[in-house]
Amino acid sequence: MVRPTSVLMHATVVPGPTVTHGATPGAPAWDADQALEQLYAAHWRSLVRLAVLLVHDNGLAEEVVQDAFIAVHDRWHRLRDPDRALAYLRQTVVNRSRSALRHRAVVNRHVARGTHEVDVAGSDDGALAGERRDAVLAAMRSLPDRQREVMALRYYAELSEGEIADALGISRGAVKSHASRGAAALRTALADYLEERS
């Protein structure tokens, strides 16, 4: 059956150096390299999964997220608040996923290079789960860009309307309307799997 995992997408919990009283003054709390390591440890997997929902290709998703990490690393000194690093990463992932999709050539090159498609093995109820996952990814792929992004951020990352608006640089009203249209489309496309649960 559907077995949701908890995804730590909105809590900015990043393990860091511990507070020690009397610690060396003059040592910055984080440098770009440390931040990269910590963010990688905490968020690599969930961000790749988010990107898979957006681009429907594991290899491409990894490339997108990897580039996003590098962008954050490069700009670390200008990020006003490390606490916002995850939000910034997520925003970068969404934007880069969108542009990757627009450049179909990029996608095709990846597929041609033998990038593994979504691997559905290992689930508890085998074929059915695989079929359902394919259907979900296909339904996501059929949505317009913005709707797909709003769906992924809302239902996968479980962000609030305001957080989604921030991440996409659109108004809350726009988030709302993409969300309702996207959800309606997904419910139609995935009616079989939704009825199964109700």
Binding site: V14, A23, P28, A29, A32, H73, H77, L79, R80
Partner: protein, 320 residues
């Protein structure tokens, strides 16, 4: 997250989407990332002068205003691409000392910290010092017993001091702590200072303080953005707070002592016992790359004939 028997339409979609990617285990890319970021000559520029504070990272720190309603510094997100400047800033307000025509006053500086307790973060930052070298702290490193700060109860917080702390802290030093902790905990606090205690024992009370009136203790103009040493491309985004005659906040940009640009911001008000936000964007695209100083002042219509002269705050920024 999703509860076992939830079947609301939203929860079902959440379950479906999360399930669709639950088995995806991305390959290990950390070493590749390390390699691609290896020439890290630029990676150390982060918070050039952020004097320290080794602080734990954890839950989101909420942005803090001064005993009330001043906004934390924010920069609006860029239009399409991710902003390559700051995203919406959340930070901890720390109060340092700066000299003004009216004697030493408190200046607020936002410092980026991740810490489970903003109050604690503020204290640690107080003793590790300001990013802006025009400011200073009256609390040397190691002044505070970070194991001995109570959570505020009934708007009172107890702070343990070590032997490194000044033995007779001045009023201004006490106000540094009161303002910083009040900002950190987002409520006006009374602070009770203890010294001489052992572990788990705060020791005897050596001082108590509540916030002095803002206009008597704060600099009447205070920049939030840019931060000291900030890299700027085409537009200098300026934010701050002021209480200035007619809400006028004159600014100048100088290089090597020569004025290269000037103008005036308008604060949101001035007729109250507090500081009012002001903000603006200065087009600096026509200036040559280099290091500049932004100076904001309170307005002094008397030209110095009355009072002590204007308050000011300055920031160095680097134009790329």
């Amino acid at each position: 997250m999703t509860r076992p028997h939830d079947t609301s339409p939203d929860d079902q979609l959440t379950a479906l989407l999360q399930d669709a990617v639950v088995d995806i285990e991305p390959s290990e890319r950390l070493s590749e990332l390390r390699a691609r970021t290896a020439p890290s000559s630029t990676s150390r520029r982060w918070w050039p002068a952020a004097g320290g504070a080794v602080l734990a990272a954890a839950a989101a720190v909420t942005a803090i205003a001064v005993l009330g309603n001043d906004p934390a510094p924010t920069v609006r997100p860029g239009p399409a691409d991710p902003p390559d400047v700051e995203t919406r800033g959340q930070a901890v307000a720390v109060y340092f000392i700066g000299d003004t025509a009216s004697g030493p006053r408190l200046y607020r500086e936002f410092q980026p910290v991740v810490n489970p307790s903003p109050g604690l973060a503020g204290l640690a930052l107080l003793e590790s010092g300001p990013a802006d070298s025009d400011y200073r702290s009256l609390w040397p490193a190691g002044s505070f017993r970070l194991d001995a700060i109570s959570d505020p109860e009934a708007s009172v917080v107890h702070v343990g001091l070590t032997d490194s702390a000044p033995s007779e802290p001045t009023d201004l030093a006490l106000q540094q702590v009161v303002y910083t902790l009040s900002a950190g905990f987002q409520e006006p606090l009374e602070v009770v200072f203890h010294q001489g205690g052992a572990r788990y024992d705060l020791g005897p009370v050596v001082a108590e303080a509540t916030a002095a009136p803002r206009l008597e203790i704060l600099s009447l103009v205070n920049l939030s953005d840019p931060f000291e040493g900030q890299l700027v491309s085409d537009t200098l985004v300026v934010r701050g707070v002021a209480n200035s005659f007619e809400a006028n906040v004159p600014w100048t940009i100088e290089q090597d002592g020569a004025v290269v640009d000037q103008g005036t911001f308008t604060a949101e008000g001035y007729m109250a016992e507090r500081l009012f936000p002001f903000s603006g964007e200065i087009d600096v695209s026509s200036l040559d790359p280099g290091t500049y100083t932004l100076i904001v002042e309170t307005d002094d219509p008397s030209g110095g004939a009355e009072g002590n002269g204007p308050f000011s705050d300055t920031r160095t920024f680097v134009l790329e």
